[in-house]
């Protein structure tokens, strides 16, 4: 018993219990997988793809990628400073720490489509409210994720800056940012990806872009167009993923 303590077993038992309960509630049962043929049949309906409207859909994709880009970039620009306020080791007063955490938690807890709905009423339909909804949500997500990276950063360098007599903020930023930067980038690109997928939900309520097209095609059962939309979305996600990988490699 070198790595495991008794408490670990208790945790495992507890998890197992929770898993069993959840399985019961969700009707988890692999024997239900009788009808593989159904799946194949269903997927076959998506092909051949209907590429008639491709130029238009590409245009819409461009809008989606713009929505996602602005949503995640501005989210990061606002969330990053907040994350320092929301990290235990860099936040100065407990009240600020706690307040920021709560605010971020709130932003994160509101589903994007609720933000979208509310903003739509003030701004009209279109991509702009979608961008704002994604920004608001991303502030919450990136603020939290980055704050946890900050909390698990090495303490030594910060201590060195403190010992130099540096101002609190220069110390925190200069000693921590270089440490967490590759992971911050990785989170940013991940959120960028997610924002492309989020445009689906926002498309449902008129947020524009390829997400809206997808829902229109979906609701009219035009699966041969849906497959094109999904493919475009997948390509965008993979593209972002790929370029994120390259950029990250440069900084690591």
């Amino acid at each position: 018993m070198i790595w495991f303590k008794k408490s670990h077993y208790i945790i495992i038992m507890l998890l197992a219990g929770l898993v069993a309960g959840s399985m019961y509630l969700t009707g988890f049962d692999f024997t239900k997988f009788q009808d593989f043929r159904n799946m194949a049949d269903f997927i076959s309906k998506w092909f051949p793809m209907n590429t008639e409207n491709l130029p238009f859909l590409l245009e819409e994709s461009l809008i989606t990628i713009s929505i996602a880009f602005l949503g995640s970039l501005f989210g990061l620009l606002i969330g990053l400073p907040l994350s320092f306020l929301a990290a235990r080791n860099t936040s100065r007063f407990h009240t600020i720490y706690f307040g920021t955490r709560t605010a971020l938690s709130f932003l994160r807890s509101v589903p994007e489509f609720v933000f979208g709905l509310v903003l739509l009423t003030a701004l009209g339909l279109g991509p702009f409210p979608a961008v704002l909804a994604i920004i608001l949500h991303n502030i919450g997500v990136l603020g939290k994720l980055v704050s946890e990276l900050i909390e698990s950063a090495e303490k030594g360098p910060v201590e060195a800056m403190v010992a130099v007599g540096s101002k609190r903020w220069s110390a925190n930023i200069i000693a921590i940012l270089p440490q967490i930067w590759p992971n911050v980038l990785s989170q940013f690109f991940y959120r960028f990806e997610v924002a492309v997928r989020t445009s689906l939900v926002l498309g449902l309520i008129g947020g524009g872009g390829i997400g809206q097209q997808l829902f229109i095609h979906f609701k009219t059962f035009q699966y041969q167009l849906v497959s094109v939309d999904v493919l475009l979305i997948m390509l965008m996600v993979i593209l972002i993923d790929f370029s994120g990988g390259i950029i990250r490699k440069k900084v690591i």
């Binding site: 090495e154 030594g156 360098p157 201590e159 060195a160 800056m161 403190v162 010992a163 130099v164 007599g165 540096s166 101002k167 609190r168 903020w169 220069s170 110390a171 930023i173 200069i174 000693a175 270089p178 440490q179 930067w181 900084v251």
Partner: protein, 245 residues
Amino acid sequence: MISLENVSVYYKSSERPALKDISLSFQKGDFVCVLGKSGAGKSTFIRSLNGLQPVSTGSVLWNGRAISTLSEREVREIRRETGMIFQHFNLIPRLSVYQNIMTGFFGYKSTAASLLGLFSAEEKRKAGEMIEAVELNVEHSRKVEHLSGGQKQRVAIARALVQDPEVFLGDEPVASLDPGTADRIFQILKKNHSARNLLTIINVHDVLLAKKYASRLIALKEGKVVFDGPPNSLTDEDYEMIYRG
């Protein structure tokens, strides 16, 4: 200048105290070397001097005022006058040699100037000079991860030196250096010390080096001061007592 009154330090995850009821005082002009076995409390001691390690009981006084009662601003002023070299260097990863050294100036700069990297020509000259002094003949733009152990340590020394400190605290600043370089670094520290009448306190394992440069030796054992006096008063029995297994 600095004095300790009945200072004890207890760590959370350890049963025994790291420092136990220590009372000492240091004046400008003292060149103190602190000896002691591994685990005796040397690092804890040096870190408690500028308040990096809060004391559990007792107090550390700077010019008669307890560090724990000072405002954040006052503590910062003390610290920027205090150069410190850490046992594990505490360099900032992914930054270059030069960038790491430039952070030594942060105590004197506004947050904006620090983060924008606005350094005067004088500061740059100074940094270059210190890089020379510690014999760092590597590319200035190399990331500190890509240095040898002793080169890392010398970056840390240069960072502390550019501060032009009034008080110099070193936690085994030459442990990773060869005897030649170690001696030359001590020469620099000593020259600095004498020229500007500093207070220098250094943990060191190399007793010969300590004897050669220190004006006062202190030895810790299990968190207590077991020797305090001029180097020539350290007898072989003392030595034996300090380092016995």
